[in-house]
Symmetry: C2
Subunit: 414 residues, 2 copies
């Protein structure tokens, strides 16, 4: 099938918000091999919105609309669908009751304007929204299967996977059912190398499908299965996940909502250890990443950003003579920084990062990063050369440092 | 005039990149009061791209295309414009020479494929690109004024201001000339309060225009003048800028590329002082923000992230008894943290942040932030209550902390 996407909202045209929904939906359609050649944005104007829906419905098999389902007068997607389909607006007593219940649970009176969200074009099916109050809609306009989803990304994404993608795959291949995804997170090899290791799975399987997503030095794999019910889809993902984990071994560090920050904090927590950081080139980003996780204070004790040689000496106890002998960007200094963090912060696990973020070289060529980790059971130093500008080098170095902690903790178990 | 925007690129449809260009162009069109009701995205397919240009040119006064001007075979905007306009492709000997010169200056041989960038539809004008090798294009297709700009945002943005907006304003109001913008950055009042203070300027002036942009707690003002030449446009901005600075006083902290990070570092540098940070709730974000600026190491000495009471004691010398008496989130502890940073990092200026980032309260309600600054000439403590989730509270607190440093340095001068 050929799918188009239409985002609705004057604030998109004014540039006040960026259309990330379009990119997300496009990515998901591609993973399912669904044809997708065109997207559009229109504002909150009934005439133009109606016309956009009408003309799109005439030329395409399926249309996904995002936005314009809120309770206010400028939320016009429902009215425009009526206009484009030539049908009347209906009112759902059942959904009105649900809305009143939702507001009552929050202990608040429902504003009358919210009754708009109980309206639907005649012939449309309402799609439940488990993260908000705006239901989605599904209806045929001519031969085109039209979906309307809320503009809020978290609400849209859940409903896309739950209602839209299974229906589109159904249109496309005559399959009915549900869709379940699993995200496997890897670090340590390039996207091309990971793709090579999994080439036969990637090209050999259409259900579950496998997709690669690269970000910040990590390569994510998304496995997506279609089946008649969730249990069958999970059962279909299982063997592919097992095969991938087997091939990639230690490259896989987490699944779904597990990030490298949560993995490191959990690994320390399990051992009853506290962690601290000693940073030069990353300038606080390692500490900031770990403290971004709610509840980090149970495990993360603190960090020392030692940007100058004198602070490395005063705050971390790295002798000036050691720096003079080896340079600030050296394995010797990185290890001494980690030891200083163990000592000064009273932690069991310490990670230290030194390097040259650029644009000007510091001691060593810009992009040089040295990471040292001390745990009660292991010691580890790695030197990396990272490409890109200052911001990119600092960001990648931060991710790499957290992965070296993970590897040092695993090394200590061995 | 009625302007539409068409973004070209299969990677946009696949969700590999997000269409930020559409939002940027939409925002600029709105600032100039130009009609803008519709945007679209198409992939790198000659037939569909040609059809999209043709149908858009039929219904609108002006069309801005972004992307598809690169040197490779899937950069098809030039060909599609020929097809939509029904004209032949031409080759610019002059631009070919310029391309060869650009490559020679980089000490490299130009790949033959780059000759594509010297091609242009018959009747089109080539628009110089000072930040890259892909020239823009300007031509009429029927009565529609069509611009093609590169997809790289930095290249596109410069050419939009330089060639496209002046021409559209010319179409709209019969004015010819150039456009010059100035960005004034403010902090300390809400967008609605700043807008109120400037309401008569905002509604009373159409040239220069005034626009408000809010991000991360800072409110930016963009002044944009149209005039026959750059000197005249600068001269038109001058009096409006002076009036705004006069009304807003200390709320304005920088202009154009000056950020709060560069303003703070420069203010310390001018005084010959070094700065350090002592952070609890921001967890390293203040240090990370300052070290994000190239050359920060001349001014920023280091930071201590003291996430637990014991690290506040060990690394910053904040007595456990003080914490027991006042709580971790208190003005007394914030000041003691700043003093500890002065002492342990050997700096003249120290900023300390403590607070409760949430979601669970720590000592005080989630969202509570206390910032203390010590300079040789001033001492300052402020308590804030910030809305939003953990990430938002931490980000806003970081910006607020840097602004408190700026205010403390100014206070010391008074």
């Amino acid at each position: 099938v050929n799918v188009e996407v239409l985002a609705v909202g004057t604030e998109l045209l004014l540039g006040q918000i960026i259309n990330t929904n379009g990119a997300h939906i496009g990515g998901r359609l591609a993973e399912f091999g669904l044809g997708h050649y065109r997207q559009a944005v229109v504002g909150d104007n009934l005439e133009r919105l109606t016309e956009a829906i009408r003309e799109t419905a005439e030329r395409t098999d399926a249309l996904i609309i995002t936005g314009g389902l809120g309770p206010t007068q400028d939320d016009l997607t429902r009215e425009a669908m009526c206009g484009a389909a030539g049908v009347e607006m209906r009112h759902s007593e059942e959904y009105e009751d649900q809305l009143r219940e939702m507001w009552a649970r929050r202990g608040r009176q429902m504003p009358a304007s919210n009754l708009r969200q109980a309206q639907f074009p005649d012939g449309a099916e309402m799609l439940p929204n488990h993260k908000g109050t705006a239901p989605g809609l599904r209806m045929r306009i001519g031969s085109c299967l039209v979906f309307a989803l809320p503009g809020v990304p978290e609400e849209m994404e859940v409903m896309l996977d739950r209602f839209v993608l299974p229906a589109l795959v159904g249109e496309d291949r005559g399959e009915r059912g549900v869709i379940v995804s699993r995200l496997l997170r890897t670090w340590g090899e390039s996207e091309s190398r990971v793709a090579e290791l999994l080439a036969d799975i990637y090209s050999g399987s259409t259900n579950p499908t496998l997709a690669f997503l690269a970000s910040g030095g990590e390569i994510k794999l998304r496995l997506t299965a279609r089946a008649t019910d969730a249990a069958a889809a999970e059962a279909a993902i299982g063997p592919m996940e097992a095969e991938i984990r087997d091939r990639l071994g230690g490259l896989v560090f987490g699944a779904d909502a597990e990030t490298i920050e949560t993995v490191v904090l959990d690994a320390c927590r399990r051992r009853g250890w506290r962690i601290g950081a000693a940073e030069s080139m990353t300038g606080g980003l390692v500490a900031a990443a770990l403290t971004g996780v709610p509840g980090a204070s149970e495990v993360f004790a603190g960090g020392i950003v030692a940007y100058t040689a004198s602070v490395k000496d005063a705050a971390l106890g790295v002798p000036a003579s050691l720096i003079a002998e080896h340079g600030q960007v050296s394995a010797e200094v990185a290890l001494a920084m980690a030891d200083g963090a163990v000592d000064r912060l009273g932690v069991q696990v310490a990670v230290a990062v030194t390097g040259s973020a650029g644009p000007d070289p510091l001691d060593r060529e810009a992009g040089t990063v040295i990471i040292a980790v001390r745990t009660p059971a292991a010691s580890r130093v790695r030197e990396l050369m990272l490409p890109g500008d200052r911001e990119r080098v600092r960001t990648y170095a931060t991710t790499a440092a957290l992965h070296q902690v993970r590897l040092a903790l695993a090394q200590g178990d061995a």
